[in-house]
């Protein structure tokens, strides 16, 4: 069986209340709660407001990262969860969906960093 270094989830959060997508502090609180629920080790978080509206934020975790970009005018947030550790991703994803109040979500999961079996990496 192929072995991979990380798992990357692209989470599309649609039909979110615009009020939850406007303030960097709100997005930061949600992503930090998700990281904590996953059992991640938080290294730092950086969140920015953009003009005229919208938030970009990243939480660097020892196991990789979480990011968010919001478009309040479309009720949409693009969230990424990239983990190279043994984390409880489902617990984090539930916090993200609930925190942003998404009425419609899409989720795609990718394995990152396939290790060549022939080289005997363990």
């Amino acid at each position: 069986m192929a072995d991979y270094l990380g798992i990357h989830i692209l989470l599309e959060l649609h039909e979110c209340p615009a009020d939850r997508l406007r303030l960097p502090g709100d997005s930061e609180r949600i992503l930090l709660a998700a990281a904590a629920a996953m059992g991640a080790t938080i290294v730092e978080s950086r969140f920015h407001a953009f003009s005229p509206h919208g938030v970009s934020g990243v939480v660097v975790i020892a196991e990789s990262h979480l990011t968010v970009h919001t478009w309040p005018e479309y009720g949409y947030a693009a969230v990424d969860v990239f983990s190279c550790g043994q984390l409880d991703l489902e617990a984090g994803l539930a916090i993200l969906r609930e925190g942003f109040g998404a009425a419609q979500t899409e989720q795609q999961t990718f394995r990152r960093g396939r290790l060549p079996v022939t080289r005997g990496h363990r």
Copy 2:
């Protein structure tokens, strides 16, 4: 035709020289050069070294973000380029491939934030 808010590229860089993957300053220099080549507006960059080795880094751009996670022991770097602007992504990707010295690359491209046509968003 469906309209989207952003484009997200997952770039797998395999068979990179380990020396290019060890130092946060090297990864930061490459990602900043890629962002500049794309024509992005750089907001901030944050790079960390991990024990025993490996780098995690993010460049926040006004148009979204670039991230990297490296595994020198496997000659592998996972790079993300997320853009919601009109950037020259190919110019940035060329810098990333060349900067990390990847002998083998894989690239997947995703559209993020599909706008419902029926709502007449423009």
